[in-house]
């Protein structure tokens, strides 16, 4: 494989999500024209916002060669804390948000400690955190979370500005900020270096444990924000939803092209993955495929994305070799 071929392959991997989005939109236009009606478009934009916020956090963790399976649990924990602390009172919301953020950061720290200090594989560490947090929620609430969601959160989850859902605007701002940090700052460079080769990064003076811990804590805080958005969207503590956002946050980043092996990927790619996934999910609902169908299609697209990544990686290696 020559360098030109490898570049073409790399380019192909990068445009695949966008090409996929175009193809899905065309297919949807043929099979389900109603996808483009305003109510469905609003739904797609909301999904982009909610999935996107979690996917940004997941991107940071993936870039340091980690993965976070506790995102869903933190989302659930946030809703439970907000409902219990506020019991529907807007006045108590700021403190509730701080409490939820502290709890989320605690879960992020726990993940980081397990991964960095004990050397537990990220998959196992974060899954253990997921089970632990879900267990604590169930033990404390006995399945019936007390309190209710304050109406003030409705603005964050269900309001629109100039027709655009607020969660999408939040995601857009965050994506811009994270994108700039990753691309233009030394913090971003340290993150990529740690993900690509932690030993080399450490030898060059980067405090890699701090970088990895920051990624996990940031991911948890993004999950707290997603929990607030979700609670505001429905105005109810939804105990059923958490597991799906785990998968979707990873799926969006991976579909976009963020490498599971760490150190490769951009926020732009995650945004592309989020767009494709959100359109795909709503299209599946339009087609009436059911939950199983949605998961199967999501799985197939992730498989395809990972396959494409592996191909690109092996071609890059063969060029270097």
């Amino acid at each position: 494989m020559n360098r030109a071929g490898a570049l073409a392959s790399d380019f192909g991997a990068r445009v695949a999500p966008l090409a996929g989005l175009v193809i899905v939109l065309i297919a949807a236009a043929i099979t389900s024209p109603s996808l483009f009606e305003s109510s469905n478009l609003r739904l797609i934009l909301f999904q982009i916002g909610l999935i996107g916020i979690t996917a940004l956090g997941q991107t940071l963790v993936l870039l340091v060669a980690g993965i976070d399976l506790s995102v869903g649990a933190v989302i659930g924990l946030t809703a439970v804390i907000v409902a219990a602390h506020t019991d529907g009172s807007d006045g108590a919301l700021p403190v509730a948000i701080l409490l939820a953020a502290a709890a989320g950061a605690g879960v992020g720290l726990l993940n980081a400690l397990l991964v960095i200090v004990r050397g537990v594989p990220p998959f196992v560490a974060t899954f253990a955190s997921f089970v632990l947090v879900e267990g604590v929620i169930t033990a404390v609430t006995r399945g019936a979370p007390s309190g209710s969601i304050p109406s003030g959160l409705h603005t964050l989850g269900a309001d629109r500005v100039a027709g655009i859902p607020v969660p999408l605007l939040v995601f857009a701002v965050l994506a811009l900020v994270v994108g700039v940090i990753l691309a233009r700052t030394s913090a971003g460079r340290r993150l990529y270096a740690t993900g690509l080769n932690p030993r080399a990064a450490a030898m060059s003076g980067i405090r890699t444990p701090l970088v990895v811990a920051s990624a996990y804590v940031a991911c948890a805080l993004f999950a707290v924000l997603a929990g607030l958005v979700d609670a505001g969207y429905i105005g109810y503590v939804d105990a059923q939803l958490s597991r799906e956002l785990n998968l979707e946050s990873i799926a969006a980043a991976v579909i976009g092209g963020v490498a599971l092996t760490g150190g490769e990927g951009t926020v732009g790619q995650t945004v592309c993955g989020v767009l494709l996934l959100a359109v795909l999910l709503v299209w599946m609902v339009e087609l009436g495929t059911g939950v199983g169908g949605q998961l199967a299609v999501e799985g197939a697209v992730i498989l395809g994305a990972v396959w494409l990544q592996r191909q690109t990686l092996s071609q890059k290696r063969s060029v270097k070799g």
Binding site: G12, S38, F46, T138, L241, V297
Partner: protein
């Protein structure tokens, strides 16, 4: 070369989507509603009358005139072979429960515990955490403690074999808030009929739209009996009696209000006349989605939760709710005790619960209680407080 791979990846996703779209109407396997049999079972007029009573209440409450009761094998089980002298410390009854995974289960288990205390029963409890596989182990463990009887809240059909092993061991088993295949040897099933729920909602929907129009059906979790049986009953009724009702879309929402809202948001553009659903979580999502879209909420059905009534208390929404009461666990326990006393029991106890419509929302709303409360409730104020469900 790269284009071939790109096309392959995209094609893979697209192909799966189209194949699944083509199969969208199919669903995972279901089974017939179980009617229990253990010892001898003889036809009984009183059992039939009791079974029909729940249907009649629903028919009257929803102001229906054409609710046909499907034929079900009903009989009275001779329980003399399980008769047992009550030990000085009371009967030892195992409860293979769902586990406190949601507020329904919390109420279900609290009611059982309280009733067991009242009746002087020693309760052996095991939580399945909502998982059928875990429940298989639970039933085995509970059976090894040699209880006098066992009450099982079935988490799925995969527990049938273990229930059969327990009944073969001489332990009479009562299926509670769900059904287990008759081959398991379960003595009695105590639940609110899935057919009743499905048909009641379907008839009410048909009445609201004068037997013709466009509707959607939203169910809970694909493959789970509590979601599949009412859905199947409703589909059959629509197909048999209302050919002019077009089911535009069939969806699942995992009984998640958020997912229900996203599913309903995608249905807003379909100009639906009504939405059949099996849950008030779904009804809540439907209300939120239509409200947000600025469109009138179509008539909707579901079971009965305080969350839904709180959400719509000031809104003009047409609905019909038929509860699936968590406190039915007390009836399950009473049935288990009757078996141990050698009293004849129905093979199927159709749990009565007041169905109601929007006309009675003030009567059933509990503003002082949590959204997690299932209504109407028979739990005492103390129990509701201990569960943090009411002030």
């Amino acid at each position: 070369m790269f284009s071939r791979r790109v096309w392959f990846v995209l094609g893979l996703g697209l192909l799966s989507a189209l194949v699944l779209a083509a199969c969208g109407g199919s669903k995972e396997g279901t089974e017939e509603t179980a009617t229990a049999s253990g010892g001898g079972c003889k036809p009984s007029k009183s059992v039939e009358t009791a079974y029909d009573k729940a249907w009649e209440q629903g028919e009257q409450a929803l102001e229906l005139t054409k609710l046909e009761i499907p034929k079900t094998e009903l009989c009275e089980v001779d329980t003399s072979k399980w008769q047992k002298e009550e030990p000085s410390g009371g009967y030892k009854i195992a409860f293979a429960a769902q586990g406190p995974t949601n507020s329904w289960a919390a109420e279900n288990e609290e009611a059982f515990k309280t009733k067991a205390g009242e009746l002087g029963v020693e309760e052996l409890y095991a939580s399945a955490d909502g998982d059928a596989t875990k429940q298989v182990d639970n039933i085995q463990q509970l059976a090894s403690q040699e209880p006098d009887a066992m009450v099982v809240v079935p988490m799925g059909s995969s527990i049938t074999g273990q229930v059969k092993a327990a009944t073969a061991q001489g332990i009479p088993v009562v299926a509670c808030a769900g059904t287990i295949a008759p081959s398991s040897g379960v003595v009695s099933t105590v639940t609110r009929s899935y057919e009743l729920q499905g048909r009641l909602w379907a008839e009410w929907i048909a009445k609201q739209i004068d037997g013709k129009g466009r509707i959607a059906m939203i169910s809970g979790i694909a493959g789970v009996p509590t979601a599949e049986y009412p859905k199947k009953a409703a589909e059959e009724l629509f197909a048999e009696k209302y050919p002019e009702i077009e089911i535009v879309s069939k969806q699942y929402d995992d009984w998640s209000p958020t997912k229900a809202k996203t599913v309903a948001a995608s249905l807003v553009s379909k100009n639906l006349d009504a939405i059949w659903s099996d849950s008030s979580f779904t009804a809540l999502g439907v209300y939120e989605a239509y409200k947000e879209a600025g469109r009138p909420v179509p008539p909707v059905t579901g079971d009965a939760s305080n969350a839904y009534l709180k959400a719509i208390q000031n809104a003009d929404v047409k609905f019909a709710l038929s509860p699936f009461p968590p406190e039915m666990s007390t009836q399950c326990l009473e049935t288990a005790i009757s078996i141990l006393k050698g009293e004849p029991v129905p093979n199927f106890v159709n749990v009565e619960a007041p169905a109601f419509t929007d006309k009675e929302k003030e009567k059933y709303l509990r503003p002082e209680c949590s959204e997690n409360l299932w209504i109407p409730t028979k739990l005492s104020d103390e129990e509701l407080k201990s569960l943090k469900l009411c002030e």
